[in-house]
Symmetry: none
Subunit: 249 residues, 2 copies
DNA sequence: CCACTTTTTGCCGGAATTTGCGGGAATTTG
DNA sequence: CAAATTCCCGCAAATTCCGGCAAAAAGTGG
């Protein structure tokens, strides 16, 4: 990986997460810590980041502390994203929806990963586009402004023509009896198609949404292969899902 | 392989992958590294790529700090956008490409306008999404990272199925003899399809690009209905185009 | 067809950049 | 305070860059 690429990647990470650790960067980018240190030194000299012992911070981090609730939910989603990343292997075709958890996943992709991401979510496309090596395929159709994803028959048809290795689904509500449910008709049509077009369906959700309901069903529990939450895999809240034979991460 | 061919190949690679390595290029094209280095130097001098130690990066890669105020000759583009807006009427279906001029147009749309915009450009989609009343249709396909638009056969097919009222084309080079020309093969395919699928073709270009050339032809002068520049409509620089029967705004 | 110019290309040697490594200092943490 | 981690400095190896040079290729004009 070229020096400038590393710099761009580091800057991107700093701007997204407000901090980076030298130790995690050097395993992400696969170079020695010295190289990372030199990169951070240069970026620091240019005023692009603030170097601290062990890593670097965003320059805009000065005094601005974001609200505790935001920090809290974000770290949860980050934990989920980390687990999700471990399922991805080079060369995979991966369908994803939108949603903030998916965006966090997009931001956590290791920079040397070579995979193809397929989505109709414009914010997700933006994140994927920043990645140096992954390919992005956009599902086209009419934009739903509220959810910022493409919805409609064309989009559903396109997804049906695909057979992906993985499907990451950000989930609004999940319940042992009713499966995944949601509240937007068009979005549900898309999610259904995505589930049918994937070999493996992975649900990402914060624990807060477990055992909640929405009006429209996306799929039953039986169609889910894996659930990822910020909780440890053996948490009792997930016991019922484990008993259904679903893998918990 | 001819020099021009190499340049086109290199540009294509850069547009697809956002970077090229001198070392991999010289085995791909089967020439010495020195030749590659000279090629990259020339392309860098033309601003087509950014040369770095070990290869080159896409110029858009550097635009991490993409802020509208830093767009090249923005005031001219704003003037162009104002004129272009006057062509749009309620209920129209409008095909647009990407490019900074198109983005300026998207920002200049009057808030009560009710029209349908169709594009494969992700930045353009973002702008259109902010608008309260217009509908946005996204052309799906694989993302070309540097141009940030979807390119490929699917996208071309989709466009062919459409018959739009208007097509706004951001233009890289226009010449009375060679028509509109560009330097990215995939982007040219899209533009060609857009032109064929529109009742009226409108070119947006800053005066600087008039009478310039790029390697690949998009269309001849005869296929253009209207040209919009920041110059007054009767400027002598546009006389030749007026004589071809093209409307000048 | 032949001389002549221009462009392009490959090669060479020295300079510059980048990167990893080791040793010792500095900082953090418990 | 002591252990662990991180930082800093210098060095060496590998890679890449650059300018100049000559051969090959392509274009030119008689």
């Amino acid at each position: 990986m070229l020096k400038r690429e590393r710099h761009a990647y580091i800057l991107h990470q700093v701007n997204l997460h407000n901090k980076v650790l030298s130790s995690s960067l050097c395993v992400d980018i696969q170079v020695s810590e010295d190289t990372i240190r030199r990169d951070l030194q240069e970026l620091s000299d240019q005023g692009k980041v603030i170097k601290v012992h062990g890593g670097a911070l965003s320059p805009s981090f000065n005094e601005v502390y974001y609200s505790p609730s935001q920090v809290y939910s974000r770290s949860e989603k980050k934990a989920i994203a980390q687990k999700a990343v471990s399922l991805i292997e080079d060369g995979m075709f991966i369908l994803t929806g939108g949603g903030s958890t998916i965006l966090e996943l997009a931001r956590s992709l290791p920079p040397q990963l070579k995979a193809t991401f397929i989505t109709g979510s414009i914010p997700a496309v933006l994140e994927y586009m920043h990645h140096p090596t992954i390919d992005v395929i956009v599902i086209g159709d009419k934009i739903s402004k509220s959810s910022k994803i493409t919805v409609g028959g064309e989009a559903v048809d396109k997804i049906r023509q695909i057979k992906a290795d993985l499907c990451f689904l950000g989930v609004n509500a999940i319940d042992i009896g009713h499966g995944i449910t949601d509240n937007d008709w068009d979005v549900v049509q898309l999610k259904k198609a995505m589930i049918e077009s994937s070999r493996k369906v992975v649900c990402l959700t914060i624990a807060e949404k477990i055992n909640t309901l929405q009006p429209i069903q996306v799929c039953s529990i039986g169609q889910i292969d894996t659930i990822i939450t910020e909780l440890p895999a053996d948490d009792p809240a997930l016991q019922a899902y484990r008993e259904e034979g679903i893998e918990i991460l």
